[in-house]
């Protein structure tokens, strides 16, 4: 879903979700929580397994809580452990649309929340001017213009700052959506500290305040996932609003299961060997420990090469798939594969 594309409207009446600026808020607190998505932690887990994501107890537990407590989940952990994949899988599991906001340095309000479509606004103004001059004036507009100068300023202002001229960006998109959505805010640690504040309102209240328009409330509560690679400390305010989930490298059994689930045709023995070698590698002091995705790449390679049981020479030849630094490869070869180890 492109964030640039305008959201479909028409049946979305402006009145239902948008309170005018002056009017008192209709109801305080959160919008009605929908029916719970999951009945139990076990259901989350088996459901995720069904869409090809093998979650452990902790991951599925936090996803379950996120749904029950209507809270965003802040997912942290080393690269390549399936943080983004978790959000995608949950979206697939719940049959929701995934809306993704990729964060980067310099991300601002107009890219994350909303923007006024000023070209269209300009056109509208010009059209209004033309209408007053020409005979083919729009009846609705000229009728309102009492003094014969075309539409009054106030009406024009109200008109061009209506929802028709609003370009929704991912965050606004997520709370305006009618159907269930999963909102993924990826690599939130890349934005500046100040920009984080943009997220606070939507994360805690599920609403967005637009000065010209009022407050847009969520029509359904999206499941929100934020991922972070921990390149900087996130602000307390952001952390406080989220459930925290640290995804680490999986343990031996889970990694083996992941390998077997993701790579059809791998023998049980090879999957076991792969998982064990990777675990041993992670205990070494490497610059970059092999991630789950690299494990999968490696296993895939071994299957393609027709290897059924790996020996030291084969491991050495394919190590560069698992490790990305020359020093790491040398060290791993020395520690694991040489005779005196």
């Amino acid at each position: 879903m492109s964030p640039q594309g305008e959201s479909p409207r028409g049946e979305e009446a402006a009145g239902s979700a948008v309170a005018p600026p002056g009017a008192p808020p209709a109801a305080l607190g959160l919008p009605e929580a929908g029916p719970a998505r999951f009945a139990s932690v076990g259901e989350v887990r088996s459901g995720l397994a069904g869409v090809g994501y093998l979650a452990d107890e902790g991951i599925s537990g936090v996803v379950f809580l996120a749904d029950r407590l209507s809270k965003p989940v802040l997912v942290e952990g080393p690269a390549g452990t399936g943080k983004t994949q978790l959000a995608k899988s949950v979206a697939e599991l719940t049959g929701s649309r995934l809306i993704r906001l990729q964060c980067y340095e310099g991300l601002d309000e107009s890219k994350a929340l909303y923007e006024w479509n000023y070209r269209k606004q300009l056109l509208r103004i010009q059209a209004g001017q033309l209408a007053t001059g020409g005979p083919a004036a729009e009846p609705a507009l000229t009728a309102a213009a009492g003094d014969g100068r075309g539409v009054s300023w106030k009406e024009l202002e109200e008109d061009i700052f209506s929802e028709d001229f609003l370009l929704t960006r991912p965050l606004l998109e997520a709370i305006r959506a009618q159907e269930p959505v999963v909102l993924l805010i990826d690599e939130v640690d890349r934005v500046e500290l100040e920009t984080e504040a943009l997220l606070l309102e939507i994360l805690s209240e599920f609403q967005v305040s637009i000065p010209e328009l009022g407050t847009v409330r969520a029509r359904q509560l999206p499941l929100v996932f934020l991922t972070s690679n921990n390149t900087r400390e996130l602000s307390e305010a952001l952390k406080r609003r989220c459930l925290f989930l640290h995804i680490d490298y999986p343990d031996l059994e889970r990694e083996r299961d992941i390998v077997r689930a993701k790579i059809p045709g791998i023998t049980e023995e090879l999957a076991d060997q792969v998982a064990r070698i990777v675990r041993s590698l992670r205990t070494l002091e490497l610059r970059k420990a092999p991630s789950v995705s690299e494990t999968l790449d490696w296993a895939r390679t071994l299957v393609l090469l027709g290897i059924e049981s790996i020996d030291a020479a084969q491991a050495r030849d394919t190590l560069h798939i698992l490790l990305k630094y020359q020093t790491d490869i040398e060290r791993a070869a020395k520690e694991l594969l040489s005779a005196e180890a």
Binding site: G61, L65, L74, T231, L243, F244, S280, A315, T327
Partner: protein, 479 residues
């Protein structure tokens, strides 16, 4: 339950975790949604709501083990299950009966030989139920726990593990693994390594099970609050570098790398969004053409902040050994992020070690080379700040310029040599800043042979730097 949670949150705050009121409320609500009898689920519910940083996980886990220690009946089923699998018919139920006493210490249902055999089996099969059971038996038999003794769990843990002789068992297991290969040709290095790692993980499991069992009994004996106080450990960022255990040092080093990256990020950001430079007259006039020659919008030059040039002079003598190791890693982290860093190490002689950090990918490697190759001993290998500093002045003094920041690291324990404080005075005159980081507590400064006071008067700041948190604050202020 609510009382228990209150106590638990209070304990977390005592250990230094920042738990806000909102998070406490969230935890209370989260607890409603998980089945209470499921201990793991409870743990994750609390962790997700209360712990917001992975480095705090350990502290959380320790507190959780104490406050929500498994009740007796639950794990017993596991142990019983393990017992049934025993073909030799080890008296699992007999062990259960006296396990209820909690204090243990008396005669056990198992002889030491039987226990050793059971331990071997547990580790060989890696069956978690069996491991738990062995841990229980071992604690009953060896820990010698007495009710009411105000010691922490470490002592009991040590006693139990010493008696179990895990290293011996490990060797036995490896020997068995070697013998079990077909044709008796032994293991290839790869297989050997994998087997060793596998058994190490299992032994580690056992050790944790023993620890957990001891804690459980201590909680029964003394109550959660009292025990929590005695096993509380500082968070990684608060660990005292001078007295850190090996494990803690490793954790510190892991934390160090992200720190340097964070600093670099903060630095570039500061540069980019920093103050505006001076007025750019030409650009302003050019710009004013569009407003009819009236300079409505002044233009500024881009600021060009000077790149910081850092001289690090570090004491690597024995008295600050662990700090020095840490320091060297820090110097490595700094030099990989800042363009102009020159580093010097000294004991009583001084040597430049910048070259060791150049193009090195592995900090441990650089530290090793510095320790072996750098020429830092002049006479006897006891710190002599005076001599080291005067040699520094002689050889590199003229390279210190007004753009240089000098960072001195050490405890200033000079073994009653001359202080030669004039060097520091000279440095301060020439350099932009002179900072001194001292790994000793402030109370010990200038006592005994510490002459930090003599140097301090010539430094811009002397900072106590005993933990990562203090270090982070200092470097944050610096850049």
């Amino acid at each position: 339950m609510l009382d228990l949670l209150n106590g638990f949150v209070a304990e977390l705050r005592q250990s230094g975790l920042p738990v806000s009121l909102t998070e406490h409320l969230d935890a209370a609500e989260a607890v409603h949604h998980v089945p209470l009898e499921d201990r793991e689920a409870l743990k994750y519910a609390l962790a997700a709501t209360l712990v917001k940083s992975s480095s705090h996980w350990r502290a959380f886990e320790t507190a959780f083990e104490i406050y929500f220690a498994p009740r007796l009946h639950a794990p017993e089923s596991g142990a019983g299950g393990g017992g049934e699998e025993e073909p030799g018919g080890e008296p699992g139920p007999a062990g259960t009966a006296q396990r209820g006493e909690g204090s243990g210490g008396g005669g056990s249902g198992l002889t030491p030989e039987e226990l050793a055999a059971l331990l071997y089996r547990a580790l060989f099969t890696g069956d978690p139920g069996l491991v738990t059971m062995v841990a229980r038996q071992a604690v009953t038999r060896y820990a010698g726990m007495e009710p009411g003794r105000p010691v922490g769990g470490t002592y009991y843990l040590y006693r139990t593990l010493r008696n179990l002789d895990l290293d011996g068992v490990f060797e036995e297991l490896m020997a068995a693994a070697r013998a079990s290969t077909p044709a008796g040709k032994g293991l290839t290095p790869l297989e050997e390594r994998l087997a060793a790692d596998e058994y190490r993980v299992r032994i580690d499991q056992l050790r944790r099970a023993v620890e957990q069992e001891i804690r459980r009994r201590l909680v029964e004996d003394r109550g959660a609050g009292a025990l929590a106080r005695s096993v509380r450990k500082p968070l990684p960022e608060d660990v005292d570098m001078m007295h850190a255990s090996r494990e803690e040092l490793d954790a510190l080093q892991r934390a160090l790398h992200p720190l340097s990256r964070k600093l670099a990020v903060r630095l570039t950001r500061k540069r980019r969004s920093g103050r505006r430079g001076p007025l750019d007259f030409r650009a302003t006039i050019r710009r004013s053409l569009s407003t009819g020659g009236v300079p409505v919008e002044p233009r500024y030059r881009h600021p060009r902040p000077a790149k910081p040039e850092i001289f690090v002079i570090a004491d690597v003598s024995g008295s600050v050994a662990s700090f020095a190791r840490f320091t060297l890693h820090l110097v490595y982290a700094i030099s990989s992020q800042f363009s102009k860093v020159r580093s010097f190490v000294f004991v009583d002689g001084i040597d430049e070690v910048t070259r060791f950090f150049d193009g090195v990918e592995d900090p441990a490697d650089a530290v090793h080379r510095i320790n072996t190759e750098a020429d830092v001993i002049w006479v006897d290998g006891h710190s002599d700040y005076g001599h080291a500093l005067s040699v520094f002045h002689q050889r590199w003094g003229d390279q210190v310029t007004s753009r240089t920041s000098v960072l001195l690291l050490g405890d200033a324990r000079n073994n009653y040599h001359a202080s030669e404080a004039w060097v520091v005075e000279e440095l301060q005159r020439k350099a932009r800043h002179v900072y001194w980081l001292n790994p000793e507590p402030r109370d010990y400064w200038s006592s005994g042979d510490s002459i930090i006071g003599e140097y301090a008067v010539h430094c811009d700041a002397v900072v106590e730097c005993r933990s990562l948190r203090q270090l982070e604050r200092f470097v944050g202020d610096l850049v």
